[in-house]
Subunit: 465 residues, 4 copies
């Protein structure tokens, strides 16, 4: 038997092909699902089953597409918030044989009501589970978030506690295969490690180490998670099944004139690096460096908007289109083929964002210039830990809904942890008509390295320690 992990960069989404002896199953396929077919074929295995650990809210599932292609059956847990049209319901204890592998279903609700885990057995080799697919119930170093049912917050946190105990009964020897790794919007405490076992997690995972149910529930209720507006769209589409992505996906190259005229109403999405956006960008464009698409497109773009990309080259644009398609943004009119220098050389207008360093920001914080605000766009969790005294806080994803809190007559220096999210936020501000914006590159990272003053829980802990 074999297990192949497929990692979708950006999403930090993990999916798996498991099988042997001519048959294979796919666990939690993403929308662009050729990779599973090719991996299985290279091992001489036909895909016979698709398993979903839960109805994903942060990406489009490829289960329906894969089923239509290969004739595989799709299996989903009970009680999703709606009927999963392309799947049959599977329940606790059901078993599936895929070549020389056996999968057994564990109902593990908590993150969602329909969450399943799948214990993996190597037929003929041993009685114990050799691994377990844990979906969003158990991650490496963290457990699933339980904030999707606000009315039942305590109940579902308790359900997750029970589910985790159930998973642990499989034994220390089982390798853990979760649905997300570090960097996912589905959990902030995940370890930056790509291998673990139930035994290792039992001993080291901070949440698993809480062996009192009430204490666990309390800890979960104390967590703060952001919930991007696109989650709802993903959930809805994952009931009916997403359409296959366009093939080939490479967007149309567009001239400057085409971007200005024919596609003038498109949202300009700049997927180049933060540095490049700061140096020069198209007026009105949204900064969305390619590695941030999965985290922030869902906050900042509406599904019905048509997009024009500003990218390094055709390959870069294609990759960006792929990342967008994974979360349901298909309407890409093309990408600007000339470079920014060529764009400007054609007489087109462009923008640029001044960049400042920690010394400069500190001087401003000290002098408190009139009409100036330091805007910190990190998440509530991060700001709770450490912050620069006097900064205004607003999470980057929530900026569009709170633009009325900002004053176009003021000047803003935008910051985050390093400068990347701040660049995104700065572009949001500029799009909203706030003209006097500069960027604190290095942001809190530089500030702390230089030993400048901060406040927050981490400081308190430090002071207390």
């Amino acid at each position: 038997m074999f297990v192949e992990r497929v990692k979708s960069e950006g999403l930090a989404h993990l999916s798996y092909v498991v099988g042997g002896a001519g048959e294979a199953a796919v666990v939690d396929p993403r929308r662009d699902c050729d990779v599973y077919v090719e991996l299985a074929a290279a091992r001489g295995c036909r895909i016979t089953h698709v398993f979903e650990t839960h109805r994903n809210e942060d990406l489009l599932s490829g289960a329906a597409i894969l089923a239509a292609r290969s004739g595989a059956t799709v299996h989903h847990g009970p009680k999703p918030a709606g009927e999963v049209l392309f799947a049959t319901t599977t329940r606790e204890g059901e078993e599936f044989t895929i070549g020389d592998v056996r999968l057994r279903v564990l109902e593990t609700p908590g993150h969602t009501d329909d969450s399943l885990s799948f214990a993996v057995y190597d037929i003929g080799s041993g009685e114990q589970a050799v691994a377990v697919f844990t979906g969003d119930a158990l991650f490496i170093g963290d457990v699933g978030r339980t904030d999707f049912y606000p009315d039942r917050a305590s109940e579902v946190a308790g359900l997750l506690y029970d589910s985790l105990r159930k998973i642990l009964t499989l034994g220390d020897q089982a390798v853990v295969y979760p649905a997300h790794g570090a960097g996912s919007v589905c959990g902030s405490g995940m370890a930056d490690r790509d291998v673990s076992t139930l035994g290792y997690e039992r001993l080291n995972n901070p949440r698993l180490r809480i062996d009192d149910r009430d204490e666990f529930v309390a800890a979960k209720l104390a967590e703060r998670h952001e919930q991007p507006p696109y989650f709802e769209n993903m959930e809805r589409q994952n009931l009916t099944g997403a359409a296959p992505i366009r093939h080939p996906l490479v967007p149309e190259p567009l001239t400057a004139a085409a971007v200005r005229e024919q596609h003038g109403r498109c949202v300009r999405v700049d997927v180049r690096s933060a540095s490049a956006f700061l140096g020069a960008h198209l007026p009105g464009s949204l900064a969305l460096p390619i590695e941030t698409i999965s985290s922030f497109a869902g906050w900042l773009l509406r599904p019905e908007e048509e997009l024009v990309l500003i990218a390094n080259d055709a390959e870069h644009a294609e990759r960006a289109a792929r990342y967008l398609a994974r979360i349901g943004y298909d309407d890409v009119a093309g990408f600007l083929a000339p470079s920014l220098a060529s764009w400007a050389a054609g007489g087109e207008a462009f923008g640029t964002i001044p960049v400042v360093d920690a010394q400069t920001v500190r001087a401003r914080v000290a002098s408190e210039p009139v009409g100036w605000t330091l805007l910190d766009v990190r998440s509530a969790d991060e700001i709770g830990e450490t912050r620069i005294p006097g900064a205004l806080h607003r999470y980057v994803g929530e900026l569009p809904a709170h633009l009325d809190e900002l004053d176009p007559a003021r000047s803003y220096t935008v910051m985050c942890g390093s400068g990347t999210r701040a660049t995104i936020a700065a572009s949001v501000l500029l799009r909203a008509g706030i003209r006097d914006v500069d960027l604190f590159l290095g942001s809190l990272g530089a500030w702390r390295t230089l030993g400048y003053e901060t406040e927050g829980a981490a400081e308190g802990a430090r002071a207390a320690g």
Copy 2:
């Protein structure tokens, strides 16, 4: 401006992307047309036009697919035998600007009534054509075949003569970009060279050197061409537009049991090498070494048949499926995943074909064993040139329609030029129930190298010379 040639191996089909300055056109796209989109995008060009030199009869056009994807317009010549639904009719003298390139239409009937050529001009660089797309009118070293209108044989040969003279007026300096290269079923006299100009062809192409119209017509009428049954199917589909190929194309891996049972009625198509087929093959399978698919699938497979492939591995099976899809065979149920040794080790039956060499065949020819026939499956043209005395002739493509001429009680030694086509033919015989078949490896090539006796036009010429 740039011209990129895309060669489709097997088909010996040549298509082109031509353009510059942000726009590109595709000439004679094949069905799997991602390559054009990617080539154009890498050069920052949007595909604005698709040109067809004629309605192809030997492959499925990708014009309709490409148009649907990129919004390009499709341009086709007048008078096709039916309406090309996805194209507009273009005529003599029309001009198209694609970025910094200009294409001018030449009506060049003869091969087909709707044949066009396209002169290529580099805007701003010079008045003369820098190149010409000649479709199936003019090849490197040969000209188009004119046997598609048997009732009008002389007329269309004459039309081609006139068309070629028209093309030559573009001047010696024009590079020639034809729709086929050596190895195509569209002409047997093509040079094995991938570059030429009108000047070079004018001086060296045997057909262009005939400057008398009647002599040219007589020469064309004397040609013998085989016409595979699938041509009709291609022509019909190329009026309505082929469907996109399945993606990803890799066929399903199948176990021995699945090949025997669920897919027991499929035609088994063995795309491995001739040697491998001779050594061991599945009973009832058709030998079709991958490089011969384009030439012989159209003779030996019916479009409605479902196929199972026997291939080296998944990648090999995928390539075979691609070659099949280019000529309209989409119904591939999968490929046998185990090797032939594993197949046999499972207790499955297999076949093998004895192989004989020139010395053995010569001894048989000399002794004329009772009930034995030497079957030569080369084309009429080749047999007209040189043949082994006493051999029976039947073109490999025409074998299925003439199986009643063969006697299951006799033994056959099959030959061709080297042994590859003979292996295909031997598999056809075995499928037809003729059991006593062996293969003359080396065939006429070995026979002639060894200086054994032959007869035919080439010999006469030699004797006379």
Copy 3:
């Protein structure tokens, strides 16, 4: 932290890149070691250390090459049979920090005296080992062979027992990363599974389940392992460090004439499939289907011999050259560019091997024809399990040294488990001047499937059961 497994097909050799936070180490690199550099660079990690679990005997190590390229230090265990020139000696308990990972050394002799294992700790995540590199001490489903010190057989088997107990103290939670997977010449009992943990192995590995030291030693002493002559060469080169492989590795394409004349004295190595060799091959060539190179080249080729390959195409020849280079065969003069059919069509001589099926062999076994022998070339272990009554046994690897036991006047039907190794053996017989050879395709597999009579331990067990 991350762990990337690199599998070398054919060799079934497993090596690893482990690291994080800007640094990486490579464990047991193979000779063609670009892959490690590229994997590490893609993760932004510099290779700082190379670890060898032992001096490999079945492949050339890339440690010296990698060290020369990247400036990494190489670490090797104590007491190798000679000085490892490019490495420093590391010992029990030494620790190495690689970015955010810590490796701790365990001396685990038994397979070899210098065998090490490396426990893997995720700094800052937990106290327990998250994984362990076990080299050839512990495999998935098996343990290392202990037949390399015939004078100290019991002693080293006991050492291995102790080493395994030491490894198990790391805890059930540790993932097992061995140096070989199923298909290796380093152990025949390995599971066909690519993931496991100490917990799973403790419960299910047949050798680990023996908890009595004497019983374990007895079981190891009862094993039979073949020891190819090239092991000695590998061991010697792995003391001084192998040279980098040639780049690019693609062999020269050769014409038929060049193969016959300039390179007429080279050993012709046919890496095509067994079927293809059976169908047609160059006279005097050795059958070595590409997937068998790692297992049998070391038995059948001498290091000083210059080779000419017969392959499917340039890519196939390059892959074969890579497999050969991994075990020290660098002297590849080129590959035959024309196909076998073209070779034969040039009037060149060729060979073919008749193929027979189980029914035919059974009839012969029953009738015992005069001068006929059924030659079974499987390993002693396999033959001990099950065999066809009356067959002569000689392991394929040992055939060259025992050709004097065969009689050129007799006819031989060669068999193995399926037909692949038998094809290799048949080619060895033909090269030795034995002319009357045919091949039992399907071999024991087919024989058993059809329920024909066998004898051996498996049968006894079955009869007794």
Copy 4:
């Protein structure tokens, strides 16, 4: 026969593999020459000859490397300025047979004394040349520069005239294969077209249309060419033969600390886009966007300097290292693995360059601020054509040698045609300690599009026209 063109991006260098029937030759190979071996092998051809049209001055030749690898002979023209150690001298009229192709030597001095062209004949197809390799004698739309022998300027221009006439005698039908395309430092008048013939060039190439020898010489003498200092180094190395490039070429990923400390004395070369450099860069780094490496590294880097790259990612760094290696810069210590935002977040210092647009620059030109200079870094040819009144001119490549002309107390706005070369120049100024530098993005392109005032020959012509 086939001709495969290999284009080296950046260098705009064209090399060729020509051959057929089992043999191939390479014309003007670059230093990273695997591509030729692979192309030839894929066509079943052994590389038997390497031809050099002249001793290249703008890139390292791979001839010696290729010869050492494949045993091919290298052929070079007479009278190079030194002995080409790895080549034999070939002369007018010599012929070489490569499979089914024949190459005939034409001595075509002018660009250099040792310049050769090679007429290409398809054996058995026709008497005329089907193509010609013209090296740096004849380009598409231009002819070779003749400024390498300042003492003999008229003489060598006249020699080139004679050489071109000799080439033209091959006939209009010959396809032209030059050693460079548009974008090369070897000629500024090349057409942006990748196909031509002698007939087309005879009619349209501005230099070929001058049919008076004296007029031709005068025109050549009037040309202005920049001559980078690295030309001399290339020429010297191309006499002895360059060493193979390191393999694999991917540079080491470096942490911020390693860049600052261990490699603190390396030249920091930033190969990201101009926009990215403007937005944020490492202090003291040289801007050299990857596509400008071939044109400007030779002006701005000394061969003995050790480099650290700032790149988008490992793949980008590897490509940059390849471009550098092609012109002899091998000493790359690594690349900065973190992004600029991460660099800054670590508390490291960074730089940024303010960007201004045409309106701003125009206002400054009008108001003539004290201490301000508009610095135009385009070439003499370009500046001769069109310039902004009042600007200071200094070619970007020559800036390092003329830094004493600049005043650190002044402020500079740097411009070129679009902004890319200006970014390079701005980084040179910053490295020289000039602190008050901003960048005119859009540069002359934007200025002209907006219709602002210019002066120069083009304006004169326009006024006169």
